[in-house]
């Protein structure tokens, strides 16, 4: 198992380097001028100097290697220094800076990460908590009324886009009923009970919208996995030897049925982060998604490149976690 993990981790490195190169080239080869958004009154020679200042005169491979150095060496070293207080090498090493704000990209991301994590993380956990009981119950009474309703809701859940459910909720609960705030206030600080209640109130809608969407997907997997397991021989054996029905379903079947679902849940994490881009836009949560959108709109290439690559890291990482979890949970699978 340890060898397998190590091998997969080592194998992930070239994959990630390749992905980072693909993203870099994709952004770099686009027929777009990073100074195009600047005012038209800037004379051509100044514009040329700005381009020089951004390092755009270098050939693509040099700029890619420079980005790699900044991202893979300089920034991790910086984080390491901040955490331990030690200084390693030259303290003024070149940092990955955003073109539009001129602050280091990593700082910008660290600033936005908590908002996204709160909303996305909470909604994912909530979604899982809703999905698993629904999946179990629909599978237990397959084609019963609960299953029919559950199937319908799940179908609606992944057919209706989150930007429509979000806007609809805003129309109903903020505009018509005036119960919940429509805009997420990220500067809000929790100081007491009333501000805590406000925080809960402003999180209800974004969390619910995402949770509904996640629950729809996961409950389908849960149901399918339960249905598969309920007809297995070991279930009949358990019933035959007199195990109570509750114990058969909740212990024997559920534990086995959860194995594939757990890996699906792990693999879904990056997608949820991606989906949060839209939800953040609906509720004006200034998290990572919003950072990405504003970066794209202002053609802030270092920021966009880094964020997109981080999304790719998430995908590769959680795919790896899913594979490892599968091996850990299912004793039939042994990685040599």
């Amino acid at each position: 198992m340890f060898n397998y993990t190590l091998r997969r981790l080592i194998f992930a490195v070239p994959v990630l380097v390749l992905i980072s190169f693909v993203i870099f080239v994709l952004i770099d080869f686009a027929p777009n001028d990073p100074t195009g958004n600047l005012p038209l009154t800037i004379p051509a020679e100044v514009r040329e100097k700005i381009r020089l200042g951004l390092g755009l005169d270098e050939p693509t491979h040099i700029r890619y290697l420079l980005w790699c150095k900044q991202f893979f060496i300089n920034e991790p070293l910086n984080v390491f220094e901040q955490l331990t207080g030690w200084s390693v090498g030259d303290p003024d090493r070149l940092r990955l800076r955003s073109w539009s704000t001129h602050s280091p990209v990593v700082d910008l991301i660290a600033e936005r990460l908590p908002q996204t994590l709160w909303v996305v993380g909470l909604s994912y956990i909530l979604g899982i908590c809703i999905a698993i009981p629904i999946g179990v119950m629909s599978a237990y009474r397959q084609f019963g009324w609960f299953d029919q309703i559950g199937t319908f809701i799940a179908m609606v859940g992944f057919s209706v886009p989150t930007f429509f459910t979000g806007v609809l909720m805003v129309v109903v609960f903020s505009v018509q009923l005036d119960w919940l705030p429509s805009i997420y206030d990220t500067t809000h600080e929790i100081t007491g009970w009333s501000s805590f209640a406000f925080q809960i109130k402003q999180m209800i809608m974004p969390v619910c919208v995402l949770a509904l969407y996640n629950a729809a997907q996961i409950s389908r997997y849960m149901r399918a996995s339960m249905v598969d397991n309920l007809s297995q021989d070991y279930v009949r054996t358990a019933r035959a030897k007199g195990v109570g029905e509750r114990r058969v379903v909740m212990v024997h079947v559920l534990r086995n049925a959860l194995i594939p679902v757990v890996t699906v849940i792990a693999m879904g994490v990056p997608q949820v982060f991606g989906g949060a881009i839209i939800t953040e836009q609906v509720f004006r949560v200034n998290g990572l998604g919003q950072l990405l959108i504003s970066g794209i709109q202002s053609a802030d290439i270092p920021l966009v490149q880094t964020l997109t690559f981080l999304f790719a890291v998430l995908i590769v990482l959680f795919n790896l976690i899913a594979d490892l979890l599968y091996g850990l949970l299912d004793p039939r699978i042994r990685y040599a």
């Binding site: 027929p31 609606v156 209706v160 886009p161 429509f164 129309v171 881009i277 794209i296």
Partner: protein, 299 residues
């Protein structure tokens, strides 16, 4: 199967159709999709109000006989805009689905039939699956939009860009499914028989393999159609898809969010149209999968 006897003598399409009709929601979804398609294609000929005519005097109106869905901030008719916008939405969905299907089927087929290419092509598929799609879609559209607009005109430029970008980022599932199906088919006796009768690779693919992988391709077509419509509307909703003067349902919804306190109908109609269309397409996919499943006969 209870009603096997009257169906047994019919051809396969008939058979599938008969089973498809028994899936009530899928059948309903098919009718809804047909209705929406007809409305968006023929509706603008009957409802001749031009969605781009400004009528400032009639801005922000609620539903009336003249404007059944109300008007926007410039007094443009929402009903007309919905039909024209739906046409673009459906067209984008259809074209993107078709392109990604062709791409996915080709990749999957080549990988399964020509052994030496299997490894590289599947690694390519894995690489594409590991790319963060939504961020990349946004970046690519942002960076390429202006140059394609100048090259192909404002409307077809965006259309070509969105269709290409969606199809290039969504072929992987089809490729994997087709590869798996073809690999399984290759081991079957009738393929062996065809090979021993001297069938060349082209004849084998067109006459024996492709017809047998059509049903999973159809199912993945419906799923691809639904997700292409959703992706396009998400892009438009983020302000990076179609422009306001050439709207789709997603763009209409996006434009409506600024006025949702005043005229909530402007977000509800496009969102409802979008959701119901995607829902019915997903149900059609579900029904097709059930109807085409050969195991359903033996139960």
């Amino acid at each position: 199967m209870r009603k096997a006897s009257p169906l047994a003598h019919r051809s396969r399409p008939h058979h599938v159709w008969a089973r498809f009709r028994r899936h009530k929601m899928a059948y309903l979804g098919l009718w809804f999709l047909l209705l929406v398609t007809i409305l968006t294609l023929l509706g603008p000929m009957i409802w001749t109000l031009d969605p781009t005519t400004l009528d400032i005097a009639a801005k922000h109106q609620g539903p009336s006989l003249r404007h059944p869905m109300g008007t926007d901030q410039l007094g443009r008719d929402l009903f007309a805009a919905m039909m024209i916008g739906g046409r673009t939405s459906l067209m984008v969905g259809f074209m993107a689905m078709f392109l990604s299907l062709v791409l996915g089927t080709c990749v999957g087929m080549i990988a399964a039939v020509f052994k030496p290419l299997d490894g590289p092509l599947m690694r390519l598929t894995d690489l594409f699956l590991a790319l963060p799609m939504l961020p990349l879609l946004l970046v690519v559209i942002m960076l390429w939009r202006d140059s394609l607009r100048t090259a192909f005109g404002p409307e077809s430029g965006v259309f070509i860009l969105v269709v290409c970008v969606i199809s290039i980022t969504s072929w992987m599932q089809t490729a994997r499914i087709v590869r798996g199906e073809v690999l399984a088919l290759k081991e079957r006796e009738f393929i062996l028989a065809a090979i021993s009768l001297g069938a060349g690779p082209r004849h084998l693919i067109w006459q024996h393999i492709l017809p047998n992988v059509l049903s999973p391709i159809f199912v993945s077509a419906t799923l691809g159609f639904a997700s292409a419509i959703l992706t396009e509307s998400a892009l438009s909703f983020l302000g990076l898809g179609f422009p306001s003067d050439f709207p789709t349902w997603g763009r209409l919804l996006f434009d409506g969010t600024n006025y949702m306190t005043l005229t909530p109908a402007r977000v509800i109609w496009p969102g409802l149209a979008l959701s119901l269309t995607v829902l019915s397409v997903n149900y059609i996919g579900d029904g097709l999968r059930d109807a085409m499943d050969p195991r359903a006969d033996t139960q």
